[in-house]
């Protein structure tokens, strides 16, 4: 029995309120005195002061941090209340508090009966209809606004971490003449690593996942738009918390935060642990929402065999985010308890174990590697068929490979402990599981190669970045297979070889893929195209100088230079200088990107074609600019979106309109009519 058959009169009640009639809703409470990022900053600041005062009051004279005179309870409570104030200030807690008295905010603003829109997220749509810049500074429930907010947030992370990387390479220009002290250097390295890893965990899922997953599955909305918005604003709060470590004196542990150094470190360590905890909350929230959305909101006809490969990658990543991150949160919580109430989880002398942290951290930390890698594969898998004009080769194997990688990633964490808290007899088992994971990863790689094989490739900027991903990831992946073997691992552990390996996989894989995604999808996101010439300059400088920066580090590592140490053997200076100069030029490539972004999007914007790459993806088939509700009608999906150049291929989707031309997969690159 359908709703319409049962209660035909209610059709009127549930009908969507047209934008023109929502003026009253739009105006209400939307001035600059209402909640926005400014009020969040003020509330966060007040929260910080209150928390610090409270901590000092309840534990006065309780100096915890060794040799600092600091009270770590006050430090922690200051950060806790800062985050709480931030969330109150932005409006994230309005809805949870209203629920305590049974209110659903959107229905409470209306005198009429609650509508379906109210219950299933009509507020998201109404908010989405707000126009102008102010919506980007508020707790907005439209996934497209959240996606763009995420773009800014991750770029903020990326550039902060990048500046710290420049500082590292400056220090390494000379082994004896120092810019920073040894202590300052390790703190810069630690902050760089932590910021970059946290950025990388959300760099695709946040901006592109949130923006495009609903569009790609034919959904009008996210399953839980408030949780999605929460994930963004708590992610930004996490950035502030982690960055606060620097003014607190930093932390000396590197991004891995190993005990017992963790236990001995000063107040900056509290920022590290709590920052991880807070960002972990954001990661869990983002993964949870995306996973539920993909499972439940796929349009009719969008069977699992028709789901775009990017969505598969986000599905696998979201599962990892949702299930692995609680372990990090628990590890962080235990560390905070050690720092504040003096438990001894990681203090061996008191019945704890420093290896416990390593286990908890890496049980999250290795899936984290695939949290970073899988979305990159998804982007590349989505883009290359467009520029090859060929179907994605072995689509099902790509999807299976992603799920296989996600599953296996839970069984490899002990290879990070080959040199420390592991029974030597257990090493072969984890060597085997680590090598096993290269099989599904190889499948994904071969899917790309199969698609490229005998293709007439259009070398547009996004495609160039995709090609670079394959080049870089091949080096990163093969060196990873080396590292999974115990003898090699034991030999090069803790050196620049490992450093180079993971930069090749994360930056060479993920960040290049993120750039491919940005160049590919920004015309749809903003309606403005990126400048191609500047894009080419950006690509070539980034690709060349990335390789010139990191490839020598394999040799630097093999010659024995350890990570996180500010001096090194004199005979390695030439290689280090070469790497440093390349790194500065790599930094310059990001300046070109920023110039391109500013020029193309703000200074001299040029309207993009509605489907500039002639993609068959569902996200390109909706109106431009994308309406708040994404699709005027929920599309009925008829096939997968990869039937490029196939004569007689079925239409991708039916959009329920007589005057609407269904996209055919064999469509040509010109003309507006059906192919």
């Amino acid at each position: 029995m359908t709703l319409s058959a049962e209660r035909p009169n209610e059709v009127e009640v549930y009908s969507h309120v047209p934008p023109a009639s929502t003026g009253a809703t739009r105006k209400k409470g939307r001035g600059w005195l209402s909640q926005h990022v400014g009020t969040a900053i003020v509330a966060g600041f007040l929260g910080y002061i209150f928390g610090h005062w409270l901590g000092n009051m309840i534990s006065s004279g309780y100096t915890v941090e060794v040799n600092t005179g600091q009270n770590s309870i006050a430090d922690l409570l200051a950060l806790v209340f800062m985050v709480l104030g931030w969330l109150i200030g932005i409006g994230a807690l309005n809805y949870p508090l209203a629920k305590l008295v049974g209110r659903e905010p959107s229905s409470s603003t209306s005198s009429s009966a609650p509508t379906l829109e109210d219950d299933v997220g009509g507020e998201a749509k109404v908010d989405g209809e707000l126009e102008g810049w102010s919506r980007y500074f508020r707790y907005n429930l439209d996934h497209k606004v959240v996606g763009l907010q995420y773009v800014v947030a991750v770029l903020m992370f990326l550039f902060t971490g990048g500046l710290l990387a420049m500082a590292i390479r400056t220090e390494l220009l000379n082994p004896t003449t120092h810019v920073f002290s040894a202590d300052t250097y390790i703190k810069i390295v630690s902050e760089h690593g932590t910021i970059m890893m946290m950025m990388a965990s959300s760099v695709v899922v946040g901006p592109l996942g949130n923006y495009f997953v609903p569009l790609m599955i034919g959904a009008r909305r996210m399953a839980f738009p408030r949780i999605e918005a929460f994930s963004l604003w708590v992610f930004v709060a996490g950035y502030m918390v982690i960055f606060s470590a620097l003014p607190f004196g930093g932390f000396p542990t590197g991004w891995t935060g190993y005990a017992p150094l963790q236990t001995q470190a000063g107040p900056g360590m509290v920022s590290y642990l709590f920052g991880f905890f807070v960002i972990g909350l954001g990661m869990m929230a983002a993964g949870f929402n995306l996973l539920v959305t993909i499972i439940n909101y796929r349009a009719p006809g969008m069977t699992w065999s028709r789901v775009p490969v990017f969505v598969w990658s986000i599905l696998a990543t979201a599962a990892l985010l949702t299930l692995a991150t609680p372990v990090l949160a628990a590890g962080g919580l235990f560390g905070l308890l050690d720092k504040t109430v003096q438990t001894a989880f990681y203090v061996t002398e008191h019945g704890g174990s420093s290896f416990l942290w390593q286990n908890l951290f890496w049980f999250f930390g290795h899936p984290e590697v695939y949290i970073m890698a899988l979305p990159g594969f998804g982007i590349v898998g989505e883009i290359i068929p467009v520029f090859c004009r060929k179907p994605l080769f072995a689509y099902r194997i790509a999807a299976a490979g992603m799920i296989g990688v996600a599953l296996l990633s839970f069984f490899v964490w002990q290879h990070h402990l080959f040199q420390s808290g592991i029974d030597p007899d257990m090493r072969p088992l984890f060597m085997l599981t680590t090598e096993l994971i290269s099989i599904p990863t190889g499948f994904i790689f071969l899917v790309g190669m199969g698609t490229l094989y005998r293709a007439k490739i259009r070398f547009e900027v996004p495609m160039l970045f995709c090609m670079a991903v394959y080049f870089n990831f091949l080096i990163g992946g093969v060196s990873g297979v080396f590292l999974s073997d115990v003898p090699v691992n034991v030999t090069v552990h803790g050196g620049f070889f490992v450093l180079s390996h993971f930069h090749y996989t994360i930056m060479g894989g993920l960040i290049f893929a993120f750039m491919a995604g940005l160049y590919f999808w920004l015309p749809k996101m903003t309606g403005r195209e990126m400048n191609k010439k500047l894009g080419l300059w950006h690509f070539w400088t980034m690709f060349v100088f990335f390789n010139l920066t990191f490839f020598p580090m394999f040799f630097i590592g093999l010659l024995g230079q350890p990570r996180r140490v500010f001096t090194y053997a004199k005979n390695l200076q030439a290689l280090n200088d070469f790497s440093s100069v390349s790194a500065f030029l790599l930094g310059l490539s990001f300046v070109i990107f920023v110039v391109n972004l500013m020029w193309s999007q703000f200074i001299k914007p040029k309207k993009a074609a509605a489907n500039p790459w002639d993609s068959l993806g569902l996200e390109w088939q909706t109106a431009t600019p994308i309406p708040p509700h994404n699709f005027d009608r929920i599309p009925v999906i008829m096939t997968d979106p990869y039937h490029y150049s196939e004569e007689g291929a079925p239409a991708l989707a039916y959009f329920g309109e007589d005057d609407h031309v269904p996209v055919r997969s064999g469509s040509s690159t010109s003309g507006d009519g059906p192919a």
């Binding site: 229905s107 174990s353 929920i634």
Partner: protein
């Protein structure tokens, strides 16, 4: 270019689309509830791993010197209150399914108070523990457990309270029709939420049993 829609003509839902969205929404509550349980499982697994890791390591013979245990009277009372809350949540949901909204509301009212009672007892227990937090591996994991338990009780009781508050308000919004009997989307959404909440509390009862045995009996 092969784009098919240049400009939006505005959304106008068909009944089928509304039904599709409603089904997706109800499915989201169902799968979201189960996924939340999955996340919680990994959190608790981390605690259990820490417990058994430190127990088997027994560094410096400091896992549990003199077999000191957290106050079992507190343990029993907190455990009992959590079991009672879980029972009330499940009972209330079953009564709601049979149309007895008042029974659900009564069970939820009592459940909120037993949940708050468990929270109070768990907080009070800090004043009664006979060990310093860092005195042993057991003491450390116990403190970690209590912090997670407090967060769990707050989350579970909040969920229970919000369904209770919603049921009270929903009747008014539905014009006096019972939320159990109405086919209104709000009512369907409410029922799915109550079912997920009860399922979560049932799971909490199982986890509480495990944790109670670990920290008070073993």
């Amino acid at each position: 270019m092969s784009d098919t829609i240049r400009n939006s003509k505005g959304m106008s839902d068909t009944p089928e689309e509304r039904e599709f969205e409603l089904r997706a929404h109800i499915g989201s509550i169902w799968s979201g509830g189960r996924l939340f349980i999955g996340m919680y499982t990994f959190l608790i697994a981390s605690l259990a791993f820490s417990y058994f890791y430190l127990r088997s390591s027994n560094n410096g013979l400091l896992w549990r010197p003199n077999h000191v245990t957290a106050p079992t009277a507190f343990g029993w009372s907190i455990y009992s209150l959590m079991l009672l809350t879980a029972f009330l949540a499940i009972f209330g949901q079953r009564r709601l399914r049979k149309g007895a909204v008042a029974d659900f509301q009564l069970a939820a009212w009592i459940g909120v108070f037993t949940g708050l009672g468990a929270l109070f007892m768990q907080s009070w227990e800090y004043a009664a523990v006979p060990f310093y937090p860092g005195s042993s591996g057991y003491a450390s994991t116990f403190i970690g457990f209590t912090v997670i338990n407090i967060a769990t009780i707050i989350a579970g009781t909040y969920w229970l309270e919000t369904t209770l508050a919603r049921s009270l308000r929903l009747r008014k919004e539905l014009g006096g029709v019972s939320p159990q009997l109405s086919m209104h989307p709000s009512a369907q959404s409410f029922r799915a939420n109550v079912a997920s909440m009860a399922y979560f509390w049932g799971y909490l009862a199982l986890v509480s049993t495990l944790l109670f045995a670990m920290f008070y009996l073993l």
